[in-house]
Every structure is written in structure tokens, then in C-alpha cells.
């Protein structure tokens, strides 16, 4: 009784108890997982006897062409997908917001798309964009191509168009939903005010609407960026085994029958975690900077 009383009466203890379950999950599985990846990349092998500290895994990763080509591809896919999804998503929201009852229906459609698992999205895009996919068939029907061989490689291509297409298809509705949620009655009122102060259509968009969407859309863009840089199933289904993004490369090394490639898998995993964090951090700094410059 006295213990319970002590726990509930001290705010610090109370907070600690309330936070404990969540922090346990994150501490053990997230921080623990990252620490293990780091330790194993540095030569620690928890189930094998011979453990020694070394940078060998990083050295071999640095010379591995699969890893080297992967970094650029990972960044390209992440940045391009995020940019396209953000621009298109905000554009969709601007079109949809004044539709009246159509706004409700389009919002529901966008939300429905959000629930589609990426794995299914990848399947859909592959059925749509492959050399024998629907787009190719339509192109054939209207005489743009003579056969599936002539259709440009859009899936399993070196650039990653198929992967980007899937991300853009899935994340544009996400950005649109976020932007629509930020287009409230308050925003309408602010736009009305700016009209009475002489702001024309494009001036309203530039000086009122877009700045007001800035924060929620920016936060959502970070989520999209992090996700598109780290997802596994979409690039493994729609991309090539080489060059492949870091998530695929790390799994390739990990599932190698030769257990000595495990440390390199961990090194790539650490690299992926670091890269995602740095990019998200850079993006945040950029947003802060542009906000400060505007004032």
C-alpha cells in the first residue's frame, strides 16, 4: 500500500510507470535491435564463439559494387518518390477541396487507397506496367508499339521507375489526405481575409494556402521519405537484384548461406539506418532554415 502510494503520489514515478511498457518495447526491440546490428557489424557474433572487434565488414561493404551502387539508387528512389507524391498530393487536394460532396467521395477514395498494402500495390503496378501489362496492351491497341518487346522497361528497370511508380501511386493519396485535413474552415477564412486585403488567386495560394499547409505536409513528407528509403518488398518485386536499394542489399547479404557475410549485412543495415536518419534530419534543418529566412 505504501509502495503504491509512493508510486502514484510522485509525478516522476507515475510518469515512469505509465511510460514503462512503451519504453520497454522501444528500448528492447528498437534500441536493442539497432545496438545489436551495430555490434554484429563490428564483428560480435552472439551465437558463434569467435568474436572480435573489427571494421572488416565496413571495409568489405565499401568495396562491394552492390553496396556502392545501392546508395545512389536508394536516395534517388526516396527523393524522387517523395517529391512527386508531395507535389501531386497537394495538387490533388487543391482540386478536390472545393468539390462539395465530391470532396467527401474523393477523400474516402484516397483513404481506401491508403489501406492497400504495398505488397498488393507492387503486384498491381507490375500487372500494369510490365512489358505485357495493361499499359503496354493499350499502347499496342492505339498503335504506339508493335509488340511487348518495344514497350520501354518500366519494371525491373535499372533506374527504378516501377518502384517509384508504386510509391507515388500509394503516397500521393496519403499526402492528399494530409493536405485536405489541413484545409479547414479556418483556412477558408484566412483566404477570405487575404482577398479583402487585395490578394489575387495565385497570391493567395503562394502567401496563404501553401504556407499554412507547410507544417503538416512537411511532416508527412518525412514519413514518406523514410518509408520509401527503407521499404523492402516493393523494390524486391519491382526492381532488379542489382543494382538494388540498401534494404534489398542488406537482406541479400543476410540470407546468404555463407554466415561470414552476416557482418556485412549488419553493416549495410547500420548504413541504411544512418542514411535515413541523416536525410530526415537534413530535411528538418532545411525546413527550419526556409522558415527562418521567410521571417
Amino acid at each position: 500500500m505504501t509502495f503504491v502510494h509512493a508510486v502514484t503520489s510522485s509525478p516522476v514515478m507515475r510518469r515512469a510507470v505509465l511510460l514503462a511498457p512503451a519504453m520497454l518495447v522501444i528500448g528492447v526491440f528498437f534500441i536493442g535491435g539497432l545496438a545489436q546490428a551495430l555490434a554484429q557489424s563490428l564483428g560480435q557474433q552472439p551465437l558463434l564463439g569467435d568474436s572480435r572487434w573489427s571494421f572488416d565488414a565496413y571495409r568489405s561493404a565499401a568495396t562491394d559494387p552492390a553496396v556502392r551502387s545501392s546508395i545512389g539508387l536508394t536516395l534517388r528512389i526516396g527523393i524522387l518518390s517523395t517529391l512527386l507524391a508531395t507535389v501531386l498530393g497537394v495538387g490533388c487536394a487543391l482540386v478536390v477541396r472545393r468539390l462539395g460532396s465530391g470532396r467527401v467521395w474523393m477523400t474516402r477514395l484516397f483513404q481506401g487507397t491508403l489501406a492497400v498494402p504495398h505488397l498488393v500495390g507492387a503486384l498491381c503496378i507490375s500487372l500494369l506496367l510490365s512489358p505485357t501489362g495493361q499499359v503496354s496492351r493499350v499502347a499496342h491497341a492505339i498503335g504506339l508499339v508493335d509488340g511487348s518487346q518495344q514497350f520501354p522497361a518500366l519494371v525491373q528497370d535499372g533506374f527504378g521507375w516501377g518502384i517509384i511508380a508504386e510509391y507515388v501511386w500509394k503516397e500521393t493519396p496519403f499526402m492528399a489526405v494530409i493536405a485536405l485535413a489541413a484545409m479547414t474552415a479556418d483556412l477558408n477564412r484566412l483566404e477570405d481575409v487575404s482577398r479583402t486585403l487585395g490578394a489575387a488567386r495565385w497570391q493567395r495560394l503562394r502567401h496563404v494556402t501553401l504556407p499554412m499547409l507547410d507544417a503538416p505536409v512537411g511532416a508527412a513528407a518525412i514519413l514518406v521519405l523514410a518509408f520509401t528509403m527503407g521499404s523492402y518488398e516493393v523494390p524486391v518485386l519491382l526492381g532488379r537484384p542489382f543494382p538494388a536499394p540498401l534494404s534489398v542489399v542488406t537482406y541479400q547479404s543476410f540470407s546468404d548461406t555463407d554466415l561470414t557475410s552476416r557482418p556485412q549485412a549488419m553493416a549495410v543495415a547500420v548504413l541504411l539506418a544512418t542514411l535515413t536518419t541523416i536525410i530526415a534530419g537534413l530535411y528538418l534543418m532545411l525546413v527550419q532554415l526556409s522558415r527562418r529566412r521567410r521571417t
Partner: protein, 346 residues
């Protein structure tokens, strides 16, 4: 002189109801008019139609002689201050005030000067670098005022701008608005549902009821000689006494009062403000009452009394007036403060 603002036949329907019904109003240059009315009477809709934010179904809006009915709001020389300050949260106070000038591509240096001058006028010098969320409610509304006035509009519209502020601040803001009006000479239309506010701030009051103009005139005239019973009621006259109007005056509970009944004859209503009732009676028009209740109301005594025929009258009398519940008194009803209306005109 050409009116600063004129609306003719302005009409807006929402569904079946006429929010604004064939409204005709004229505002002289430099005037300060209060658009007074209960919520839902169409005054805000009128203001938004003048600003161009709501298209009218019928009618025209003319500013300084030019027809603005089909001009978009951003090109009307009209500024509107809303009930909420509606400051742009992503901009500083200075940037908010300079917003309209920036939209007109005015050079930065000129904007800075105008903004500094406006800040001084609304007494916010030194707060230009703040963000809206760092301001108090009153400060926010000052910025909104400055933001509207810096454009030197031909007409300034204010839509219940102080209704979300507390009582003392509201009075202070009224003074400021009046001061700004007097120094700039901008024709001002001030929408409010608060009769005290309308009286305090405006030179002219337009009373709107159900989308129409019920009465129009100076505050004194509307209060002391309301043209209609509805006007009298909205302005808080409180005493409505039934009786008989005739050429010589008004017959109340068997007593003739020498009031001006105008053209009203027969069944009629006499109105008088509680504070106009005299005790002891000085005027010639007098009436007997039985005191029914006396209540101390701070700066005055609020009493009720019944006439011989059982009608209730409310009196506001100076503290210390000789009142005893149940005793008969004779009160004075000054003829010039009584109004007589035909029954059923409400």
C-alpha cells in the same frame, strides 16, 4: 456629395429564407455607421456582400460612384475586419500588417514605413517582430485593424470585431477605433448586436431585423423616439403599457396622459424607458401605481409597480427614492419620452 458607399436592392436568399431582403443603404464619406441587429438578422451577410465575399442574388454595391457588384473582393477598395482577428499565423505582426501592400507590389522600404506608422497608431510599437500566438486577444485585434487600415481603404467594414474581448477591453477598443476613424476619415460600417456598443461608437445607427432595415437614425433619436415598436423593444425599452390612443393623448387605466399619439388611434401601446419614469413626478402627465417590488441594483433602485388595471411597469429610480412595497405612489411619465404605437405593429 457622392456617397462613399451605397447598396441598392441588395438581396440574398439561403434556401427559402431571405437573409437580406432588398436592402437600400447610403453611407456618406467620413461617416461612422453602426449596423445593429440580433444574430441572424442578416447584418453579417450584408457586410460580406459589400466586401464581395458573398455574391448577392439581386442588387448593386457602389463605392464612391463606381459599381462594384461584379468586382472580386481583392479589387474592391474595401477592408473587412472579422469577429476573430484571423492573423496569418506564419507571419509576424509587421508582415501581417504589410500583407496587403505586399500584394500590391509596393516597394519594401515604403511598406516598412507604412507599417511602422500603423503600429504607432494602434499603439503596438515594438511588437512588430512578434508572432500572432505571442499576442493577447486585444493586441491581435489591433493588428487586424492596422492590417485593414494600412491600405487606406475607401470603406472600412468591421464585423463584431470586439465581441470576443472582455468588457473593459471592448470599451478601450471602441475608443481606438473611433480615434482611428476621426484621424483617417475612413467611412466606417460597424456591425454589432450590442446596442450599448452601437450607441457608444457610431454617429448613425441602422437597425436591421429579419433582413430589412427596421429603423435608421442618430442614436439619440432611435433611443428616445423609436419609430417602431420593434425598434423600441430591441433597444430595451422594457415598459409596454396597453391603452387607448386618441387625438388628445393616451388613455391608460382610466387616466388620460397628454402624449403625442401621432396618427395612432384606438387600441395602442405606450412605451417608456424605465429610467425615464419620475418619482416624485415633475411632469404634468402622471399616473398612480402600487409598488410591488424594490430591488437594489448597484447604482439605482429597480422597482416594479402595478397600474390600476393590473399592468406591470418597471422603474429605475435613484438610490434612496421613497419606495415601500404595497404603498401607492404617483409617478411622472414625461410626454416627450413616451412613444405610442398601434397594437399589432410588432
Amino acid at each position: 456629395m457622392r456617397p462613399a458607399l451605397q447598396v441598392s436592392g441588395l438581396t440574398k436568399r439561403f434556401g427559402q429564407t431571405h437573409a437580406v431582403d432588398a436592402l437600400d443603404l447610403t453611407f456618406a464619406p467620413g461617416s461612422f455607421t453602426s449596423l445593429l441587429g440580433p444574430s441572424g438578422c442578416g447584418k453579417s451577410t450584408t457586410l460580406q456582400m459589400i466586401a464581395g465575399l458573398i455574391p448577392p442574388d439581386l442588387g448593386t454595391v457602389t463605392v464612391d460612384g463606381s459599381d462594384m457588384t461584379h468586382v472580386s473582393p481583392e479589387r474592391r477598395p474595401i477592408s473587412l475586419v472579422f469577429q476573430k482577428p484571423l492573423l496569418f499565423p506564419h507571419l509576424t505582426v509587421e508582415q501581417n500588417i504589410g500583407f496587403g501592400l505586399r500584394m500590391q507590389h509596393v516597394p519594401r522600404a515604403v511598406i516598412a514605413d507604412s507599417v511602422a506608422e500603423m503600429l504607432e497608431q494602434v499603439r503596438l510599437t515594438g511588437l512588430g517582430g512578434r508572432r500572432p500566438h505571442e499576442l493577447s486577444g486585444g493586441q491581435e485585434q489591433r493588428v487586424a485593424l492596422a492590417r485593414a487600415l494600412v491600405l487606406r481603404p475607401a470603406v472600412l467594414l468591421l464585423d463584431e470585431p470586439f465581441s470576443q474581448l472582455d468588457a473593459t477591453l471592448r470599451i478601450e477598443m471602441r475608443r481606438l477605433v473611433r480615434e482611428l476613424h476621426d484621424s483617417t476619415g475612413v467611412s466606417t460600417v460597424f456591425v454589432t448586436h450590442d446596442q450599448d456598443e452601437a450607441v457608444d461608437i457610431a454617429d448613425e445607427i441602422v437597425l436591421m431585423l429579419d433582413g430589412r432595415v427596421e429603423a435608421q437614425g442618430s442614436p439619440e433619436r432611435l433611443f428616445e423616439a423609436p419609430p417602431t415598436l420593434a425598434t423600441a423593444r430591441f433597444l430595451g425599452v422594457a415598459n409596454e403599457l396597453f391603452g387607448h390612443a386618441h387625438a388628445g393623448g393616451f388613455r391608460l387605466a382610466g387616466t388620460d396622459l397628454a402624449t403625442d399619439s401621432g396618427a395612432v388611434r384606438g387600441e395602442a401601446v405606450l412605451t417608456i424607458r424605465p429610467e425615464a419614469v419620475e418619482l416624485p413626478a415633475r411632469s404634468a402627465t402622471r399616473h398612480a401605481l402600487i409598488v410591488e417590488s424594490v430591488r437594489f441594483a448597484g447604482t439605482f433602485l429597480a422597482a416594479t409597480g402595478r397600474t390600476v388595471d393590473g399592468q406591470l411597469m418597471t422603474l429605475h429610480l435613484p438610490v434612496g427614492a421613497p419606495l415601500v412595497v404595497g404603498e401607492a405612489i404617483e409617478v411622472g411619465l414625461p410626454a416627450d419620452r413616451c412613444s405610442v404605437f398601434a397594437r399589432g405593429t410588432a
